[in-house]
């Protein structure tokens, strides 16, 4: 260590305060039990969570019976009880509530469909799958109701067919929203800050990013380990990766790999094409829903986005955007690309129109005293949550279609995060930081959200 490093080390040791209280084994045991307990799912008879009432008093009334040792196994046992409620309330269900064997065949067949289709106003929509009857959130955003109470990692909720997938700090989960059950679980050692990506009937996670790129695949049906891929990089990898893996509508994977984006066939693991990206090291990547454009974020220096023609590899547009050195989390929609920039804890969400990246404009943030979630594109809309409000925006123009406040609980903000659609329903991560209650919530957004006829941004209330 240099003298400067030694002084910093000494400062850290000297100035870091002693904790006001300690962590106990009992508190860990409760955390473990809560982590594995599903939503109570009491359905129609469930009283909404009330402010000031620690949810543990009602939701975890069975805690005494849920010993920590049994917690891991109890997820199945208790989920079964919850599923029974869900089915009783869902007379038209097509799923067997106790089925833990995987997703339906229809879900399997849809698994390679990696880009959601824009909403078709006026067209007949298939009947949505039944959804578990969850625990309503008091004053919840768009009538949110928690259908699966699990501690999930912000920024990692994705869907395929009728199933939801997300990371916990140590596992990859498959959640059946029709029952609220965690149907499958796999140990995860994924690279931080990267959501799972679904392609080729597999759920992919980035396991290594630095000194090489490693991906691990899991069956969408069972989450059984199903292959690994090593992606060759061009030059050094970004030290600030923010969404380095994306799936295209062709079912292939697109990887930020040094100074190039590499397209990989997830079935064979072979490189299909390599797209050199002029201007620096790529730290994030997205593919347009029609597969026509590839967007690459350049994380070195002032953040830039490069738009490439996916057929020829030619550069269509390139611009410094957001005015920040820290950016990423690219999300492509029909009209362009969305991205985040950050400085400290201030997150900003931007939209850059296709072909005119330099006219990128701020669409959200920073949420004063709160946080913004990474945008997601699902069900024909772009969704931006956070601790202040949840908005749906037009994927072509970036205009706000509808907005709703996210409540706070006794001045502690609640949060609505990533939005995903499955089985005809809209889901999002929900978290109440005060009561530590949260998981996957089902929402009832206004029709304006998924209608291509944009409405004004009037608040819809919550």
């Amino acid at each position: 260590m240099t003298i400067e490093e030694q002084r910093l080390s000494e400062l850290l040791h000297r100035l870091t305060p002693e904790p006001p209280r300690t962590v106990t084994v009992e508190s860990v045991a409760i955390r473990l039990a809560n982590k594995n307990a599903p939503a109570r799912g009491a359905g129609r008879g469930a009283a909404p969570m009330s402010r000031g009432e620690p949810n543990g008093g009602s939701r975890f009334s069975g805690r005494g019976r849920l010993t920590p040792l049994l917690a891991a196994a109890a997820v199945v046992v208790i989920a079964g009880a919850s599923a029974g409620v869900a089915v009783a309330l869902s007379s038209n269900t097509t799923k067997t509530p106790s089925a833990l064997s995987g997703v339906s065949s229809s879900a399997t067949s849809q698994a390679a469909t990696v880009s959601p289709s824009p909403a078709q106003p006026g067209s007949s929509q298939p009947s949505p799958e039944p959804v578990a009857s969850g625990q309503p959130v008091t004053n919840g955003t768009w009538d949110s109701s928690v259908v699966a109470s699990v501690t999930l990692t912000d920024g990692t909720l994705v869907s395929s067919g009728d199933s939801l997938y997300a990371f916990t700090p140590s596992n990859l989960l498959e959640i059946d929203p029709s029952t609220g059950q965690t149907t499958h679980e796999a140990p995860s050692d994924g690279f931080p800050g990267q959501a799972p990506v679904i392609a080729g009937n597999k759920v992919w996670e980035v396991t290594t990013y630095g000194g090489g790129i490693g991906l691990s695949g899991y069956s969408v049906q069972t989450l059984a380990a199903d292959g690994t891929i090593t992606v060759p990089a061009s030059g050094a990898l970004s030290g600030n990766p923010e969404g380095v893996l994306a799936a295209g509508p062709d079912g292939n994977l697109y990887m930020a790999a040094g100074t190039a984006v590499v397209e990989v066939n997830p079935s064979s693991g072979s490189v299909v094409r390599r797209f050199p990206v002029p201007g620096g090291t790529v730290n994030s990547v997205a593919v347009s829903p029609d597969g026509g454009q590839i967007y690459a974020g350049i994380g070195s220096g002032l953040f830039r986005i490069v738009e490439l023609d996916a057929s020829s590899g030619a550069t269509l547009a390139s611009a410094s955007v957001g005015g920040s050195q820290s950016g990423g989390d690219l999300v492509a929609s029909p009209g362009g690309v969305w991205f985040t920039t950050s400085g400290g804890t201030a997150e900003r969400i931007w939209f850059a129109p296709s072909g005119s990246l330099s006219s990128a404009r701020l669409v959200e943030g920073p949420a004063v005293g709160g946080d913004e979630a990474v945008p997601t594109y699902a069900d024909g809309a772009v969704w931006v949550g956070g601790t202040k409000k949840l908005e749906c925006l037009d994927p072509d123009t970036g205009q706000v279609r509808a907005s709703s406040l996210v409540p706070s609980d006794d001045q502690v903000p609640e949060g609505i995060g990533d939005v995903a659609t499955a089985g005809g329903h809209v889901f999002a991560l929900y978290e109440n930081n005060r009561t530590e209650f949260g998981g996957v919530a089902v929402l009832s957004p206004p029709a304006a959200c998924t209608s291509s006829a944009s409405s004004s941004s009037g608040g819809t209330g919550s």
Binding site: L8, E18, P169, G193, D371, G415
Partner: protein, 171 residues
């Protein structure tokens, strides 16, 4: 005394190491509520795997802590959480100077991107080697060096901290 079903040695580890882990959590997140959340999350992840990690549990727990912190990506939904009051200071010297210094340190850490912050905590507070830090963060040693260099450059420019780092002001 260990409870029923509690892995052998788990309680001893928690009692011995949770203060240090909490302090690391405070440096990562900047408040005690999030620090406790981070440590509890990591310990809850370690519990079911205790049989395979109990020989050296701390690297595993720190890895989960850092991964969880990085996955929060500074979007943790606690923006308005009333942070716990600072504990009573134990120093008998210039209390105000120490509070100022601590505030300067916290503000400086807040300016760091998450990965740089994690490297600072692991390398200079948890006293991990570059190789250990790379293992904890799942990246290369080169990336650790790069993050550390960039972090030091930023900290050098942080108001109030530069003097402390250069020894200009003693607290």
């Amino acid at each position: 005394m260990e409870g029923a079903g509690e892995p052998e040695g788990f309680r001893a580890f928690v009692e011995a190491r949770s203060p240090a882990l909490l302090r690391s959590g405070w440096l990562l997140t900047g408040d005690w509520t999030s620090a406790e959340d981070l440590v509890q999350t990591a310990l809850a992840a370690a519990w079911p795997r205790w049989g395979s990690v109990y020989h050296a549990p701390e690297p595993y727990v720190r890895k989960i802590m850092v991964n969880t912190f990085l996955r929060w990506r500074q979007r943790r939904w606690n923006g308005e959480v009333a942070t716990a009051k600072l504990p009573e200071l134990r120093a008998y010297g210039d209390v105000f100077a120490q509070v100022d210094s601590r505030a300067a340190l916290k503000a400086a850490l807040d300016r760091l991107p998450p990965r740089q912050r994690a490297v600072v905590v692991l390398r200079y507070f948890a006293d991990q080697t570059e190789a250990q830090t790379a293992e904890t963060m799942g990246c290369s040693v080169g990336a650790v060096k790069s993050h550390a260099a960039k972090a030091l450059a930023r900290l050098r420019e942080a108001p109030g901290l530069a003097e402390l780092m250069t020894g200009g002001v003693a607290s």
